[in-house]
Subunit: 218 residues, 3 copies
């Protein structure tokens, strides 16, 4: 089976690590927004599990892993509790968090694509859902804090690495070459692309002939 | 069966009463926001049925009660029609509406937890979905009117009573003691906690060492 | 079968045309908001497929057509690419786009109602889901760009024609008279009503005795 590419224990530990990092980022945003303790917990849960929840609803994986797997649900609460007490310290290691976030992004776009394909979706749809798994939680988080999702507007190169990773998995499946090696290659490529984008401030293009200085229409 | 704790007729009447009150609150907000007649109806529907719809999608109860049970769908339209014509009068009894809203909150967190457990979810996930049933409609309503959900930021003690009620139901199930008495106890506890929170302005804590005076980051 | 009212090829071509027009409108909004190329593609997809995706999740059509039908997923990407390069030209034919948008609205409220009924929902719920199919993508689009959905507030007569069309289909089913003729009548009625509403600036009413000049509460 596709999801047995890595030993189950390692796979599960990687998933939990990705969930923990995403949840930490969500909880930190909640603290900056002066949310109360309940809002911190909700934003941690939504950021960490929202993308996978959307994927599972679309592919009909009921109940979704976010609710069917207790450790997935509890991990964001632990992250929220740590941020609740130690947010100044956590904030200080923001650079490290960004690196772990890139790792979570890489992992989720790959496992999301694989899971969607296992549930019978086509290659393009599977890659799209892998991408949604990786970035969906962040979009929901931004909607809840009443901001335009940074993914859509910031021109930060966040979605492109995930798209590349999801496409690599889909291509591996198409050529019947999905194995631990190609999976690891997709994860590493996404991770490195994202780190390079952060380091060199790569930006996604605006619409053709559109200057970024143009202000929004009234 | 768990959902036969009360005679079906009473259960259904309670559900409709809760839906009616939530819908009224949603419709009043739509009037304050100057929404048109269609917006009033949509906000009534979303506020009243959004939480249960989310729960039903997650547990795979298809079609969700919001669309499968005609009386659930029609009740918010009646509430919207009343508010459309009589909103000044309805606004005036705002205090009474808050009390009924507390009753709806208490009822929905308990029935939501029970229904999720019946569909095979674990105790923690069931309690989380019971909470989502009770507060989810309000979150969707606030997203639609383009505000940060008051649940996450206002520090008003709204989610905590519902969390307590959902946890009481989950514990009753865990100890094989779910019956009409323990269910009623969970409903009453949630209701009274919410009334006390309103009366004495109990507030949920912000993050540790975070003054509420700190403004949002730019 | 109900969905065989028209030859499958024509039905599919109509669906793709509606998706293309909705996607174009979404992509143009993304350009006006200075979204990057990824944001343009996402807003095109969400606007075109969001309503049908919601309907399919509610009726349990898994995987939803948005992900199960490759041409549905690819069409918004083509619209996004065209808008990315040619947005000034596309913007200039805005009036024509509004006419096509009215056609998409008419088509989607009718096919959405029919599909929901085929999946076993009641007549009222089917009509509601037909309406949601037609207007849901626009609501999600507005939430993502952080605006109150224009559907709820602008008093523009957008939802009313779709409601009429969905109701006509539901009544046709109720009287066992759903055929190519009554379906076409519902589509044409919705389309013409929407064009008349645009031409004569018909507006939906605010709450009774509520002046539109009343400002929002603080």
């Amino acid at each position: 089976m596709l999801h047995d590419l890595f030993p189950p224990g390692i796979q599960h530990a990687l998933d939990l690590a990705g969930i923990f990092v995403f949840a930490t980022a969500g909880a930190l945003l909640a603290v900056r927004k002066n949310f109360d303790v309940f809002g911190i917990a909700v934003l941690a849960e939504v950021t960490a599990l929202g993308g996978g929840l959307f994927r599972d609803l679309v592919i009909g994986a009921v109940p979704p892993a976010a609710f069917g797997e207790l450790s997935f649900f509890v991990t964001p609460l632990i992250a929220a509790a740590i941020v609740f007490f130690l947010h100044p310290e956590v904030q200080r290691i923001n650079r490290a968090i960004n690196v772990f976030d890139a790792a979570g992004l890489a992992l989720f776009c790959v496992t999301g694509t694989t899971k969607a394909y296992e549930y019978g979706l086509g290659l393009t749809a599977s890659a799209a859902l892998g991408l949604a798994t990786a970035v969906g939680g962040g979009v929901l988080r931004d909607v809840l804090v009443n901001e335009v999702p940074s993914l859509l507007r910031d021109r930060e190169m966040y979605a492109v690495p995930a798209t590349v990773g999801a496409a690599m998995v889909a291509l591996s499946i198409a050529f019947d070459a999905l194995n631990a090696l190609t999976t690891a290659a997709a994860i590493v490529t996404t991770f490195v692309l994202r780190l390079l984008a952060m380091q060199f401030h790569w930006r996604a293009p605006l619409a053709w002939n559109r200057r970024s200085a143009v202000s929004e229409e009234p």
